[in-house]
Amino acid sequence: MVEITHHKARALIQAAADQTLGPAERSTLDAHLTKCKQCRAYADHLTGLEANLRKALHTRWDTYHPNLNLQAIKHPSPAKLVWSSFFSQTHALGKVTVMAALLLGYFVIVNLIGIRTPISSDETPTALPTPNGFTSTSATSPTPSIQSALTDWTAQACKTVIYVVQENDTLASIATQHEITKETILEYNKDADSLVSNTVFTGMELVIPLCEKAPSRTASLPGSVLTITPINGTIFPDQPE
């Protein structure tokens, strides 16, 4: 008989609640439950929760019944028909209309207000202020500026991708695959559809932060190489010997 951990047993109990447990997993779980008082209590607790949830929902909502106007449904007013169809999103035309309206809105705003770039070329610093008489110059042309390079780098650093959990994946294997730590995955997915007791399910979607990859952390800033020229030939003229 296959021995399983309490953690695995809880994941199987959750799967059993959704009726997605195979016969082999069922017998493994049953064997564990006969021996483990703690997991048996967890399973009982979950069964109690399910029963009470069903009861509470039915008690609350079963007393209400619809009172529809059949004539209004069969012969709706044109305005109602447009409104319902639009928000139900069943028509491809509705979706296209929404997209067109959004695009139109965007162009109207852009044309009315205009978009100003944060730093124009004549505002780009060509030399950086430095302390104690040091002169620093940018080795490259003024554009891209250091600030915009930093902005680009930050934006890139914040990129994430969605990873769909495959069969036989574990949290550790996904972490290794993406060159990040398990803790990072947990951190980025703490508020998402994720990770009950650090367990992943097949088909589950996980946010993978690209910025946490080792290469990104050590990436240099493009276009921001500085050449520092000391005035008196020494780098630290005031430093005691």
């Binding site: 959750q14 799967a15 609640a17 959704d18 009726q19 997605t20 607790h45 979950l46 109690g48 929760l49 399910e50 029963a51 009470n52 949830l53 069903r54 009861k55 509470a56 929902l57 039915h58 008690t59 609350r60 909502w61 209400y64 019944h65 619809p66 009172n67 529809l68 106007n69 059949l70 209004a72 449904i73 069969k74 709706p76 109602k80 028909l81 409104w83 319902s84 169809s85 928000f87 139900s88 999103q89 069943t90 028509h91 491809a92 769909v164 959990v165 559809d193 994720s194 990770l195 009950v196 007791s197 399910f201 097949t202 088909g203 589950m204 979607e205």
Partner: protein
Amino acid sequence: MSEEQAGLIAACIEGDETAIAQLIQKHQLGVFRLALSVLGDSGEANEATQDTFIAALSALKSYQESSTFKAWLYTITLNLSRSRLRKRKALERLQYTLTAFFRVHSQRPSTLEEIIIGNEVDAALWQALEKLGEKHRLPLVLRYYHDFSIKEIAEILKIKEGTVHSRLSIGRERLRSELDGLFQTTGE
């Protein structure tokens, strides 16, 4: 899809009023209760049900059998109910801002608080469900009230089956920890 269902839908597309009445009769309770579970107000749920059938009948030709008819209908119900909910929330925010401005605070409790029945477990469950948020509450409602399978919930919410499973697990875990100790004494 069964032949009977396919025939009914075809007749509705042709404009057969008896078939339309039959289709509405068959699905109205489920649609209404799904709208009710999102909106928490029977009047609004009734209007959302009405709008759902108007939208569904006008889009019936575009229904494809890639999902079950019920799942397709319930997706429309959810979209329309959510749209109503957003509108209501925007109005409530405006109302709150105005009343706060004039220092007239209405002490009206939230809808779910209002409907708590005099049972301790039910009351605690409602509070915990309200705390969950729609993302985790809806799959629980579809599973434990409407008795949908994981596959059907995935179709209705347009998410993957694995995501349904994880949302249900998270929902149950959060309810369990919120209601810790309650079921040992009062549960079956």
